[in-house]
Every structure is written in structure tokens, then in C-alpha cells.
């Protein structure tokens, strides 16, 4: 436990505008000092600076204060619902810099953070502010801490350009990953599930996640190899991520190896953010002589297309979940004409209920449940739900996406790490009840920070169990709970409605029509040429009708 910081602070009427100061020197001394003063006056752009700061303050109050607080202390009205918390500018502790650990950021560093935001946090980019506004804002932010004045502008570290990567670099990088013990926090597969991950706190004693290196779109400082490499040299001040500069200087690794590590870290993730708009899971029809995969580890899954569905905290109904652990699921499906197998995989660093993660659960609850709602102290399982309507909708109307309603219930495939798989229905959030005699089968595995659950059921349903038909788009939605992230009941990650479509066995009939059309066109072409020729040779009179 760290102690509390001293609370006594001097607060004037406001920063920078403390009003007229004491009695100035007399007239005569001014006249004698005049030449010197004029030179000094020209050399110091303080008037312009003050103007910048004032403009910056206005922008700050309009756009930033709700999170970062009226005084810049990171305690605005929205702050208590955010993890990590908004930055406290009075501390001048900046995460994303081009300077050495512990140093101030450069003006450019702050402006970059304003322009692009910090992905993976609640800080958006502000491209709607123009450069000069961003500059004014930066001037104001710097005015909030005396460090900028005291220490003057910091020096950027020099960064080499990336050497190029390649297979060898990746192999070397993998070894450096182990040598520098990155896995202690980030885990063996990079999913932020290392043994030290549950105890990580930022400098404010708030829980902070070891970055999931397989989701680079959430990297606070950007996901290019260069940006990753920079983080090694600068560290992420205020978080547990240290600088590797001292290890480099001590010769534990050399600079080429640090680049290899950057390439390796980047290689843990897909090239691009999973594209939005792929909102239909195409459930592949397997060949008649193949069998549906029984478990999540089956080889049959290797060739199946994966679909990514982003998820958000359930913030519609109370209690709300503002910082869910799961931010999306990967979904794959196959069917054989009578049965469907759906594999849902998602990253979750804890295999809840996991006693090592209980202190994480306590911290998260303490950080986010400050509104007085009771928080779960017992150990909670991880859970997942796949939601369908109870029947394929006739028109476009379907049940309310958030677990349906009394008029239109939903049908659920549920799994939890304690009790396994069952079928349920629900008529609203928090009302799910099991159906008797579950026909749903499945298996789940957790490995290196990832859950994979396979659900299997016959296509034919009964009663409130939906019947799945090939070639028909069936609405589907997903829910995930991380027990050790204090998620239970309505505190969940949720998705919108998407669709699953079962592939229709493609018979030969799909080729009949195109073949017929091709023949028709060929025949018509030949006829045209013939008649045109006849018209040509048959003389002028028949000319008119021939071409048509």
C-alpha cells in the first residue's frame, strides 16, 4: 500500500492570472534600464506564450476538463469510470514520450498524444483541433506542472531506423522476449496473462493490465515496429512497464536484439485491426466424409475463416460495466447438414475463478464500483453466451439485442467455467434461465490467456430452441464475463446483433443458368453476324431489318 499524498495545496484565484503584482520599480530606474529592457523584451516571447496558455486553457475547459478535471488533476466527473484514469497533468508524468524514463515529454510528444489519442484508453485523438489549437493546449498543459519550467525542454532520445525484420529476427526476438522476462507480465503468448499480471498497479495504485500483445490496436503508444521499439527505450512512465535502456547499456541485450524483440512483439498480432463490416459468420459446410470437430483444439478449425466481433461494456442498464476485460470474440463455424459446431475464442488473462487474480478483482471493484453498488467478493467463473432469437424472424423485427424482452425472448447458448454448457432463454438482461434437457454439447479450453469454447447442436430445434436453416441469415449476438474482473450479472461485455449463415451445399444447379445464358449469347452473336452478312450481300433493300 502506498501512502496518501499530502493534500495541502496552495490554490490562488487561478493559474497564470494571479492579477496585478506588487509595486513596480520607479520611473527613474526604468529610464536608466530602458535600453537593456528593450533588448530583453524583444528576446522573450512571454507575452505570446501567455496568450497561448490562455487560449489553451479555454480549449481545455471546453474539451478536456470533464475527464482531466478543472485543475488538471485527472479527477473530472467522468474519471472514476475510466481505467486507466485520466492523466494528472500537475504531476507531469507522461506515458508516451520520446525521452528517457523519468524525463518530461517534448512539446511534440504531447501534441502527438493530443492528435492521435492513446489507443486502448478512453483518450481519443483530437484531429478536430487544428495545429495552433493543439499547440495552445500543449502550452496550457505544460503550465499545469512546474517541472516544465524548472527543468527546461528535455532531449529526445535518438532512435535508429528499423533494420527490417525477417524470420531470423523473429526467432531472435522470441529469445529476447524470454531473456528480458517480458512473459512475467505479458505472458508466454503475449496475452497479458503472466504470473505478475494480477498484481500490476499504476502509480496511482489503480489496477493496470499488462498489454495484450496480440491486440496491437490497443497499444497506447501505437503499434508500428518503430513505436514498439521506442517504448522499450523510453518505458511507459507511471505504469509498471520499465525502460530497457539500462539493460541495453549494461550489455544484457544489444541494440539489434531490441529491434528483433520489436519485430517479434509485432508478429504476435494480426497485421491489421480485424476489419469492420464482416458482420456475417459464414458457417462452412464440411465434406460428407469429414466429421465435425469435437473440441476447440481440433485440427479441422485451422482452415475455417475467423470472424471478429468487437464488444463493449454493458452500460445500458444498471449496474453498468465501464471497463470490461473482453473486448471482442473470434467466431468460426462449420456444419454437416444436420449439426453445427461453433467455436468462440476470446482473450482473458485469468482462468476464473483464479485465486491469484482475486486481488485484481478486489482492486477493479474498488476502482470502478465507487458508486456504492455492492461488489462481488466471492470467486466468480468466466462466462460466455451466444444469443439467438427463439425462431428465425419473419420480417426484419427481432428481439431486443440486450437479452430480449418479455414479448420477444431470446434463446442462449451459455457456458461458464464452473458448470460447463447449457441452453437457456431470457426475457431481458439478467433473466436467463436454463431450458430443461439441454441438447447442447461442447468443450472449453483455456490456454495462455485465451478461452476457446466449442458449442455443438443439431440444426433442428424445438419450441424456443431455434431451428437453423441453411442459407438463411440468423441473428446472433455475444456476451462475455471475466469473473476475476468482477464481472457478473449485468456487468458484462456485450455485442450488437450480427448474423450467422449456414452454407448451402452447392449443387450443380448453380452452373445450369450461367451455362444457358452463355449459350444464348453465343447463338445470338452468331445469328447477328450471319444476318448482317446476308444483308450486306443481299443488297440494299433488306438492310434495315438485318441488324436488329
Amino acid at each position: 500500500m502506498r501512502g496518501t499524498r499530502r493534500v495541502a495545496r496552495h490554490r490562488g484565484a487561478g493559474r497564470w492570472n494571479a492579477g496585478a503584482h506588487g509595486n513596480g520599480p520607479g520611473w527613474t530606474s526604468f529610464l536608466s534600464l530602458m535600453p537593456l529592457l528593450l533588448i530583453a523584451g524583444l528576446a522573450l516571447p512571454s507575452a505570446a506564450d501567455a496568450q497561448d496558455v490562455e487560449n489553451g486553457q479555454r480549449l481545455y475547459e471546453r474539451w478536456c476538463a470533464e475527464c482531466h478535471g478543472a485543475e488538471g488533476e485527472g479527477d473530472g466527473p467522468a474519471a472514476s469510470r475510466m481505467l486507466p484514469r485520466p492523466r494528472d497533468f500537475t504531476e507531469a508524468r507522461y506515458q508516451i514520450r520520446t525521452t528517457a524514463s523519468g524525463n518530461l515529454p517534448t512539446t511534440g510528444d504531447i501534441m502527438r498524444a493530443i492528435e492521435h489519442g492513446l489507443p486502448g484508453t478512453t483518450m481519443p485523438g483530437w484531429p478536430n483541433l487544428n495545429r495552433s489549437q493543439q499547440r495552445d493546449l500543449t502550452a496550457y498543459l505544460k503550465s499545469l506542472s512546474p517541472f516544465f519550467e524548472r527543468l527546461g525542454p528535455p532531449d529526445s532520445l535518438s532512435f535508429e531506423s528499423p533494420p527490417g525484420g525477417g524470420e531470423e529476427a523473429l526467432e531472435s526476438g522470441r529469445q529476447v522476449y524470454t531473456k528480458l522476462e517480458c512473459d512475467r507480465c505479458h505472458g508466454s503468448a503475449g496475452r497479458g496473462d503472466g504470473p505478475s499480471a494480477p498484481t500490476l498497479t499504476d502509480w496511482r495504485d489503480q489496477p493496470v493490465r499488462a498489454a495484450d500483445l496480440t491486440q496491437p490496436w490497443l497499444f497506447n503508444g501505437g503499434s508500428s515496429v518503430e513505436e514498439i521499439h521506442r517504448r522499450f527505450l523510453t518505458g511507459l512512465d507511471g505504469t509498471p512497464m520499465p525502460t530497457q535502456a539500462d539493460a541495453l547499456n549494461a550489455g544484457v541485450v544489444d541494440s539489434a536484439q531490441l529491434w528483433d524483440l520489436a519485430y517479434y512483439v509485432r508478429s504476435l498480432a494480426p497485421e491489421r485491426v480485424p476489419p469492420p463490416g464482416r458482420n456475417v459468420v459464414r458457417v462452412e459446410r464440411i465434406a460428407d466424409d469429414e466429421e465435425l470437430p469435437a473440441g476447440p483444439g481440433a485440427d479441422a478449425w485451422d482452415d475455417v475463416d475467423r470472424y471478429w466481433f468487437p464488444m463493449a461494456g454493458q452500460v445500458l442498464e444498471r449496474p453498468r460495466q465501464f471497463e470490461p476485460m473482453v473486448d471482442g470474440v473470434w467466431v468460426e463455424g462449420v456444419h454437416d447438414g444436420s449439426e453445427i459446431a461453433l467455436r468462440v475464442s476470446w482473450n482473458d488473462p485469468s482462468q476464473s475463478p483464479d485465486s491469484a487474480w482475486m486481488q485484481w478483482q478486489r482492486r477493479v471493484a474498488g476502482a470502478l464500483y465507487a458508486d456504492g453498488t455492492p461488489w462481488p467478493t466471492d470467486s466468480l467463473p468466466d462466462r460466455l453466451a451466444v444469443q439467438f432469437p427463439t425462431e428465425i424472424p419473419e420480417g426484419r423485427e427481432r428481439p431486443y439485442f440486450l437479452m430480449g424482452s418479455a414479448q420477444k425472448p431470446v434463446y442462449l447458448w451459455r457456458w461458464n467455467s464452473r458448470d460447463g454448457i447449457r441452453e437457456s432463454t431470457a426475457t431481458g438482461l439478467g433473466t436467463a434461465g436454463p431450458l430443461p434437457e439441454s441438447r447442447l454439447q461442447g468443450q472449453a479450453t483455456w490456454s495462455a490467456g485465451q478461452w476457446s469454447v466449442v458449442f455443438r447442436r443439431s440444426l433442428e430445434g424445438e419450441g424456443q430452441r431455434i431451428s437453423l436453416e441453411s442459407g438463411v441469415a440468423v441473428p446472433v449476438a455475444f456476451y462475455a464475463w471475466d469473473g476475476n474482473n468482477a464481472e457478473t450479472g449485468k456487468r458484462a461485455a456485450v455485442s450488437s446483433w450480427y448474423f450467422v449463415v449456414l452454407e448451402v451445399p452447392t449443387g450443380n444447379e448453380v452452373y445450369v443458368a450461367p451455362a444457358a445464358v452463355v449459350l444464348l449469347v453465343a447463338g445470338f452473336g452468331v445469328f447477328m453476324v450471319r444476318s448482317a452478312r446476308q444483308g450486306e450481300t443481299g443488297g440494299g433493300a433488306g438492310d434495315d431489318g438485318s441488324g436488329a
Binding site: R6, N17, S101, E149, D246
Partner: protein, 298 residues
């Protein structure tokens, strides 16, 4: 005509004077911070050491009343290297260590009364990481004095120092034998230091502009030697029970004794850490200058 011209210039001149003064005192003077206190050091080294015949001494004891909370055992199973270094009894937390009624790990220091500066030692104070513990758990260092942090373990440690008045750092030491040397530029009581890899590892460092501090040992005793005669406030800081203070008046050759008595009832006391500094702390006058200059330019 001439006067009007001059009037136009006056506010600018005021601005220039104050701005120049600000650069000299604030802007430039503290530059040392980033450089680890070099500037300050040079100034301080000129002060002569207290002559032996006018030195005074402080002896103290930190007692503890009531039942001390039992130290919790630390589960090091996630780091086999360290777990293997402890035999039964397993390692326990060091937050409250009481032996025969005496409280260990209390930082005792002269908090006011010293009216002169003292030389900054060039030899480093050492903070060791050994068997996944910081040794020592509480320590002091002079502003600008090198602090050598070494890793005696064959596992990764990171040293995450989070001061308020000083700049922090967070350094990784993935190999045994690595030493990282850093300095803290200005006075700060106390700076928390932690290892994020091993959540149980923490230490506190007190930074002072003078050498008159000590940390209570197993027997709860502290000693500060070679003080110049004067009247001093002695403060004691404990990570769980907070701050106590006492006043002593010392003549040349005196040995004064101080005594602090913490009690179990003080659990939950507010424990101050480094005092954050705010723009208003150092001179509003200099800040007023830019605002004035703006008016003058209109």
C-alpha cells in the same frame, strides 16, 4: 509625444524585468533537477564542515505501544528463485517490525532548523535487491547524492520510483549484477519504490539536503552526529503510522535524546509522501508578468 511613447513601453519593460528575474531565479536555477542536482551541489560544497569542537549529537529511540499487527506471510511461489531462498518461517511483510517494544524502519530526520548548506557526498548509497526484497526497506540519501540500485537476484526486477517533487524512473534489471545509478535533485520525504514484477517488494527513500537522518534499527535506535548547535525540529516517519515530531535545542558538544512512541491505535493514520509542488509554490509574481505584458502590447 515622447512621454506617450514611453508609457507604451513601460508595461513591456515591467514584463521584461520580471521575466528576466524569473529566468535567473526559477527557470535556470532549478535546471539541475534533470541533471541530478549538479548545480545545487556545487553551491553546497563551499559550506565548511561543522568544526569538531562545536558539533552536537542526537540519540533517539522509537518505541511501540500496544500489540503490533502480525506481519503477513508473502507468497513467493510465482518466483521459484526467490521462494527457494527462504526456509521456514516463510518471508513476511516488513511494514511493521517491532522487537521488544521498539519499532524498526522509522525514518528520523532533522526537518527544520538548519540554516546552512552541507556538502553532497559523492559516494553512492546502495539499495540492493536480494531474494526478492529491498535491502534496506527504508533508507535515506542526500539530494544530488548517487543512489546505486543493484540486482543480486538472477531474476528480472524493475525499480519503479514514484516521487512527487523529484522526477521518477522505472528501470528494468533483467540480470544479476546489474547496477543502476540515479540521483534525486530535491528534498522529498518519502519516495516510494516498488518492483512491479514482484508485487510485495517495496521500499521508501527519504531525500534530504543535509546528512542528518537515520533509520531506526532492530532496537529502535537512531543517531545523528555532527550537527551544528541550534534548535531543531526532529521528525519521525513510519509507513503505516505516519509522522511524529519533537524539538531539541543543542549547544556545542551536547548530546540530546529524542524519543518517539508510536502506538497500535495510530493504525490508519494519514501517511504523507512527497509533497507535490504546484506552480503557486514558487512565486506568483513571475507568473503575473506574462499577463501584464499582454496588456502592454495592446
Amino acid at each position: 509625444m515622447r512621454t506617450t511613447d514611453l508609457r507604451g513601453w513601460i508595461p513591456t519593460a515591467v514584463a521584461a524585468v520580471t521575466a528576466a528575474a524569473f529566468v535567473a531565479c526559477g527557470g535556470g536555477g532549478d535546471q539541475a533537477g534533470q541533471e541530478g542536482g549538479e548545480g545545487q551541489q556545487a553551491a553546497q560544497q563551499q559550506g565548511p564542515v561543522v568544526p569538531p569542537d562545536s558539533q552536537a549529537f542526537v540519540r533517539g529511540a522509537v518505541q511501540f505501544e500496544g500489540t503490533a499487527p502480525e506481519a503477513e506471510s508473502i507468497d513467493m511461489s510465482q518466483e521459484q528463485f526467490c521462494a527457494a531462498r527462504y526456509e521456514a518461517p516463510e518471508p513476511r511483510t516488513q511494514h511493521v517490525v517491532v522487537n521488544d517494544g521498539m519499532l524498526q524502519n522509522v525514518f528520523v530526520y532533522v526537518s527544520s532548523g538548519l540554516e546552512r548548506s552541507f556538502p553532497t557526498p559523492q559516494e553512492a548509497e546502495t539499495l540492493d535487491q536480494q531474494a526478492c526484497r529491498y535491502r534496506p526497506h527504508v533508507m535515506g540519501v542526500q539530494a544530488g547524492q548517487p543512489l546505486a540500485i543493484m540486482n543480486s537476484d538472477s531474476v528480472l526486477h524493475n525499480i519503479n520510483a514514484t516521487p512527487s517533487a523529484n522526477r521518477g524512473f522505472n528501470v528494468s534489471q533483467p540480470q544479476a549484477g546489474m547496477t543502476t545509478t540515479r540521483k534525486f535533485a530535491v528534498e522529498e520525504v518519502m519516495i516510494p519504490v516498488a518492483c512491479d514484477v514482484h508485487g510485495w517488494m517495496n521500499a521508501y527513500i527519504g531525500v534530504l539536503p543535509h546528512p542528518f537522518y537515520d533509520v531506526s534499527g532492530q532496537d529502535g535506535s537512531v543517531a545523528m552526529d555532527g550537527l551544528p548547535p541550534g534548535e531543531y525540529v526532529i521528525e519521525a516517519w513510519h509507513e503505516r503510522y505516519g509522522v511524529m515530531s519533537d524539538t531539541v535545542t543543542l549547544a556545542a558538544g551536547d548530546t540530546a535524546s529524542v524519543s518517539f512512541t508510536y502506538s497500535a491505535d495510530m493504525a490508519g493514520a494519514e501517511v504523507p509522501l512527497g509533497d507535490p509542488i504546484y506552480p503557486h509554490d514558487h512565486g506568483e509574481e513571475s507568473h503575473a508578468a506574462p499577463a501584464d505584458a499582454e496588456v502592454g502590447n495592446r
